[in-house]
Amino acid sequence: MMTKLQNQKPALKKPTFHSRLYAAVMQGRLTGAIKKRIKPRLIRIGQVAMKSPISKGLFTWALSFSPRLQSRVHRVLWSELQLSTRAFGIFENLKKAVEESTSSKQHAHTD
């Protein structure tokens, strides 16, 4: 037990998703033509995301080119909202339901 204590090291500061995403873009690790199209957008989105973690619309557009990256973006979003995977699923359902509810109310007004 004491031996273990001697060997413990402080935790390394883990790179955030944004920094990894930024690094991936800058190091050209995204593939093919998609890279050229979404690179500037991704950089911008990365910056937006850091300021406003749930500005999801921009992410969705740009990251629709890469499902894997999209999944990562979602994960970072729920991480920033302090939600577990399951809670984030519920959050998305709630958001969708709110949007539908609001839009049906607007339609009702229009009618």
Binding site: M2, T3, V98, S101
Partner: protein, 857 residues
Amino acid sequence: MRILIDLQGAQCDSRFRGIGRYSLSLALAMARNAKGHEIWLALSAAFPQSILDLRHAFSEHIPQERIRVFSIPQPTAEVDPANAWRARAAEIIREEFLESIQPDVIHIPSLFEGYGDDAVASLGVCTKGYKTAVTLHDLIPLLDQESYLPNPVIRDYYFRKIESIKHAGLLLAISDSSRKEAIHALSWPEDKIVNTSEGSDAHFQVLDITPERDKSIRLQYGMTRKIVLYAPGGFDSRKNFDGLMKAYALLPSTIRAEYQLVIASRLSKGSDDSRTKLYQWRDQAGLKEDELVLTDFVPDDDLVILYNIADLFVFPSKHEGFGLPPLEAMACGAPTLASNTSSLPEVIGWDQALFDPHSPPDMARKMEQALIDSAFRLSLKEHALNQVKNFSWDSSAKRAIAALEALHVKNQAASALTKNTADSEQMQSSQNGIHAIACLSRTASSPDSDLAKAAAAIAFNTSTKQNRQLLVDITELSRHDAKSGIQRVVRSLLLELIKQMPIAYPAFSLRPIQFDDHQYRYANRFMARFLKKSADEQKNSLDDIAEINQDDIFFGLDLVPPLVTKQQALYQQWRAYGVQVYFVVYDILLAHRPDWAPEEASAVLSAWLDAVTQVATGLVCISNSVANELRIWLEQNPRNRPTLPTISFFHLGADLVSSAPTKGLPKNALTTLDLLKKRQTFLSVGTFEPRKGHWQMLKAFEDLWAKHIDVNLVLIGKQGWMMLPYAQQLRKHPEFNKRLIWLDAISDEYLEKIYSASSCLIAASEGEGFGLPLIEAASHHLPIIARDLPVFREVAGEHAYYFSGLSGEDLSKAVITWLDLLAHDATPKSDHMPHLTWAQSCAQILPLILRPSKEKL
């Protein structure tokens, strides 16, 4: 019948008032008198500290798993209109949670909560309320709206509650008076309301107060004369303080010189400063400063004494739902006078003990009679002790259960008639809840942060026993594998848990977790590496936030003292939610011998030991010896622990193959191994530390070499703390790399070969948690010389040769004797020393942490 009680009344601000006392006492009595019915409790996660207290209070009556905790999006206090959306969403979330427990009946002991705090109580918002019974304490605000509902916010809040009540299948009134109020003011059907009355807790009783205790309590609360006591549960106008003071001022000055009026109640502060108001009334009534004593909050134990020493207890409240304080005072034998209004005549039960609270002269007359006329005072006392026999929480509970039984029968009959099961009438899927919450957003804005809070609450509330997790903390291993003994244990047990859990405990999912970025996360990335998954899988693994559910089990397998110490509050919160928290205790050596490590390390481990003994459900030690030491330590260090953790032990495994062994041999391995085989080689395995006996071993072998006994001493281990001088001495020793060999940081593969090439293991350590090298030696048929420690006896039994003493000579003599025995083939053999594989070790642990919860808090 499954009875679910929403016990927020005993959690929120009301817990300091009569309503809190009612909620807790009645629920406890219902649990005691359940007679085959299942009592379940619903508690709000918004009040985490109270949850542990309540779990403790019910530990003898209700299995812990029937105490369910629900989460809501906070804050919800309705006093702030900005909380409106969250409060409405919380009502939906709570109702759905209650329904998910599938109760036959629900009891809400206190519906009028959540104005000033985050309690949430409703019925009929998204589920039907016919199976719900609500306790009606009183309708005072409805009957006196001018005083009690002064602004639109509180008015809206109150009338929403009144509307909510109308969905109830049954009302439980706390007195006949409040029952009649409901029938008249709410036009409530008489057959849907039952008077269950109240009782006083057993600790309100006549005590034999010693003169010393009497003196000290008077001193403590500033009482210098005999006392006339008033102990209301609040400071609203109906409590009639001004009337009481006017009446008190009318008493003859001789009486007032002999007595003090004592008001024993928590004083409100801020804009509603009750102390200032009370002093104003005192001055207006013409009382002198020393004629009035304000105690502020009095804990129950002191209140019982005050009731016991009071010469007279008065209760001039103009309107009560029941009036618990006079009942409690009477239970303590206090001569008691009270108002002749609302429920108080029922409680007091004697006209002679009543006065008109609207008439100070009448109150004064009655008080004077009680203080002057000793026969009357004696009659009041005798009557009090007789009258309290008519009230008890057990009787109230029995009446409540009978009423709930009738409600259930009625509901069953109704559902049979309509051919609808009760459940089918409920809108209870989480989808409906989500829809209901979404509809709220039409009328009030719901920012994403609120939706996220609602989602987190729903996720927490909808976790089920079907997805119980065994959360194994491997924080340190995932950060850095220092290849120490403990990390070998963590690696080995982790591998075995992965193999055994799905077969032995299919109801649980094994989820290794690590603390990172201020929270626990699933250690997916580490596990992908650890299990040598494909490069793609490793790359794609992300460490999601760990979802902690109330039926989960946390297992602190890794040793991370600073983290555990810092996160005590988190583990306490998990315990409150119902998570069982276990830690492995590898040893508590530094608790006994802080000199074996630098001061800071001792302090760190001491803080860790304090933390785990405070927060753990159970501590699993790696040997019986450690378990015994821990029990003794707990006795010697009682601290202020709410509960004691269970203490159990297992033994470590010893098969290297199952411990994900490290590989690799140095270039000079063969030369070294040849050197070992040349003569008898004594092996020591373990990091250099003051406790490990390295100095003694060196001196012993210097003694042996001086006596021309040709033996090797092989030391395997890194240089640990406080051992720099030792390492320096080794390196400049004339026998270094000849007969004295030090191998620092070798692989498990190399260690295997060293064991095979050696003649005997020396275990000279003065303190160990287990002594894994002994077992490893035995698995290589290597004889053992061990210090005579309880833990070595536990591990090696008769299969080792034992020595005592701390000098080099003590050990060298032991080695010589052992060599003599070897010459006659009489050394104890380790071949048959019992030891476990890691699979067996893991099989020992699992029942210790996954056993059905019989936790006694």
